[in-house]
């Protein structure tokens, strides 16, 4: 009797362990967000609506009544059909991308310019999603500044994929699909906007561990990142 109990407990523990080990299950983003939807994209929507004063509930990734009302108000104010559902046009106005929606006309697709833009956007998304928009532009600008500097590789791919240069590249986040915000940030940087005014480095003072980086002259702090040269 005693035996059975022990073995059963061990078996259950193993099962739990196996299930816990399967932590790579990702919530598949819905192609339209509506009441009852859940996930990261919903959180994004809630974050923005909150930032702009439409929503004052919790940013919890659950599309409930509060979120629905906020979406309707946003749609009303921006000339969209106020149905409380986030489809392609509402998502575009919010600045996010829904999976399964057609990527906004990437013309000249396959041209080197578009490839560079896409890579830069993914790098920005990997490194700085959740950061203020200006911070994202600054991150993209740092990458471009490095391309132009003799101390770093001379191509966008060379800079982004330089081993160890960006933690989000080293751990594979570079392969996540980016949102429209990251794309806009990358494009603004390619068009010449640089809120860091020439910075070559940035770090998060809370998580940075290399002592040498703290000695570099600081240009500006945006969100969680300190930009320096």
């Amino acid at each position: 009797m005693h035996w059975k109990k022990i073995v059963s407990i061990v078996l259950i523990c193993m099962l739990v362990f196996l299930i816990a080990g399967c932590d790579y299950v990702r919530a598949v983003p819905a192609s339209v967000l509506h009441w009852g939807s859940r996930g990261d994209t919903v959180s994004e929507v809630q974050r923005r609506l909150k930032q702009w004063g439409y929503y004052d509930g919790a940013v919890d990734g659950v599309f409930g009544t509060g979120t629905s009302t906020a979406v309707k108000e946003f749609q009303r104010k921006n000339g969209l059909t106020a149905d409380g559902v986030v489809g392609d046009s509402t998502a575009a106005a919010l600045g996010i991308r829904l999976s399964g929606s057609s990527a906004g006309a990437s013309a000249g697709g396959g041209s080197s310019g578009e490839r560079d833009l896409e890579l830069l956007a993914r790098a920005v998304h990997a490194e700085a999603r959740g950061e203020p928009y200006t911070g994202q532009v600054a991150v993209a600008a740092v990458i471009l500044n490095r391309v132009e500097s003799p101390k770093f590789p001379n191509t966008i791919a060379g800079v982004v994929y330089q081993p160890g240069a960006f933690t989000a590249v080293s751990d594979g986040q570079i392969n996540l699909s980016h949102g429209d915000e990251a794309r806009r940030a990358a494009r603004d940087a390619l068009n010449g906007w640089d809120p860091s005014y020439g910075a070559l480095f940035y770090y998060n003072p809370v998580t940075a561990i290399d002592p040498w980086i703290f000695n570099l002259p600081i240009h500006v702090t945006i969100g969680k990142h300190v930009f320096c040269k």
């Binding site: 000249g108 003799p150 429209d180 070559l200």
Partner: protein, 448 residues
């Protein structure tokens, strides 16, 4: 009795199966991991060995350059050094950085590659390598020898533990050798003088935060609530503000320069406008906006439609000459034509009253320098900023070659073909391609 036995056997068997499965899986995963490690090791080793090989070639070719008397041979040697230095620099970028990134060795290799290109360019204009240039080449050779020596000091170890140790040992050796890399100044983008922005034209009295805020308020006009934001330091110091429109979702991130109190940058952080107006009307709105700010002589160059906004780039025209270095970029909303973005840093860094001498060549003579058979669609005098920071007067020819549009810049004094850009027009506007990576055409280049 039998029942009891089965009662125990089954769960124990079950546990054994699960355990066995886990162990097998574990072993397979470890195997995979070791394979990947080996794969990475091999890639790193390849990059390392190629790097060493290229640098050794640079040394040999620089030595030959010092004694070659034949211009053709000199040309070939220069192009070899250029090629090896460029490849070496790429190899270096594929190896993991140890210590402070932004390597001095990388900078050295870029300068070598760059300097050779400059000499090749001059050779092509019949200017041989002079004594000064040779001295620079000699200095570069001295450093090269030091780099080669440092490689020999650390042989990459073999052995299984290798991922970091494989690279770490030779790398430590390289970084511990104190190599005196020369500071060379020459006509190239990686010259010492180009590593910081040129502030010689960035003039004006310093302003304090309050004055800056007043300037911003009068720049934006009514309808905005302005509060203090993040200031920047460094080469360009600015006062930072946030301007929230009374009607609108989001705010403008604003920078006003300390020197001269100019509005340098506006960046919109908020909802993307929903297109509602005609592109032509938005284009005109952008032109009116720039004129409204008292900036005269700004001529619109290119426009691009991007997600609810129209980007229009402007360049300053002095007399007949377009000065590309003095550029301003404006983003207007395609919902109502209001100002959403502004980038004038390059304009304020480089704008000044220029003494532009008349071109030596007539338009006809310049056009004769073009390759035969090209259809010329348009012509314009332009002052283009070279990689060195210098400005050169050129005739800008817009030509059509088999359906593709290009811009060719012919030096207005020497007839030398300075640059070629490819224009790609798509439904969003104009895309200007020079080569991959970076910011491209002067209408987009940054001085920083």
């Amino acid at each position: 009795m039998k029942q009891k036995w089965i009662q125990y056997a089954l769960p124990i068997l079950g546990a054994a199966v699960v355990l066995g499965g886990l162990v097998t899986w574990g072993i397979k995963e470890r195997q995979k991991q070791q394979d990947y490690k080996a794969y990475m090791d091999n890639l790193y080793s390849k990059s390392y060995y190629e790097l060493v090989g290229h640098v050794q070639n640079i040394q040999t070719d620089l030595e030959k350059l010092a004694i070659s008397g034949d211009p053709e041979q000199t040309w070939i040697l220069l192009s070899n050094v250029w090629r090896h230095a460029d490849s070496a620099q790429q190899n270096l970028g594929q190896l993991p950085e140890l210590g402070v990134p932004g390597s001095d060795m990388s900078k050295y290799l870029n300068q070598v590659s760059d300097f050779c290109q400059v000499l090749m360019d001059r050779l092509s204009q019949r200017q041989p390598i002079d004594v000064e240039n040779q001295e620079v080449l000699d200095t570069l050779l001295v450093s090269c020898v030091q780099v080669v020596d440092s490689f020999s000091a650390g042989q990459p170890p073999q052995g299984e533990d290798a991922l970091t140790t494989q690279i770490e040992a030779p790398y430590q050796a390289i970084q511990q050798t104190s190599i005196e890399y020369p500071h060379i100044i020459y006509d190239g983008p990686f010259s010492e003088t180009r590593l910081s922005p040129d502030l010689s034209h960035f003039k004006g009295e310093d302003v304090d935060a309050d004055t800056a805020q007043r300037r911003l308020t009068s720049f934006l006009g009514d309808g905005y609530t302005i509060e203090r934001g993040t200031d920047t330091q460094g080469d360009i110091a600015t006062w930072g503000f946030y301007a929230t429109p009374d009607d609108g979702d989001g705010r403008l991130y604003c920078s006003v320069s300390v020197t001269g109190g100019q509005v340098l940058t506006l960046l919109w952080d908020g909802a993307t406008p929903v297109s509602a107006m005609d592109e032509e009307a938005a284009y005109q709105a952008a032109i009116d906006l720039v004129a409204d700010k008292g900036l005269n002589g700004m001529v619109p160059q290119y426009r691009q439609r991007e997600e609810g906004m129209l980007l229009v780039t402007f360049a300053y025209q002095q007399g007949e000459v377009l000065c590309y270095a003095d550029q301003i970029k404006v983003q207007v909303s395609l919902a109502d034509g209001r100002l959403m973005g502004w980038e004038a840093t390059n304009y304020y860094l480089s704008h000044h009253r220029r003494d532009i001498p008349d071109p030596t060549l007539s338009p006809g003579q310049a056009e004769a320098m073009l390759r035969r058979g090209l259809a010329v669609m348009d012509r314009q005098l332009a002052l283009i900023p070279l990689e060195t920071g210098e400005e050169v007067l050129c005739y800008e020819f817009k030509i059509d070659n088999g359906g593709q549009t290009y811009l060719i810049y012919i030096n207005a004094d020497t007839g030398h073909e300075e640059e070629i850009f490819k224009l790609v027009e798509n439904e969003k506007g104009m895309l200007i391609i020079k080569n991959t990576g970076g910011r491209g055409h002067w209408a987009h280049k940054s001085q920083l």
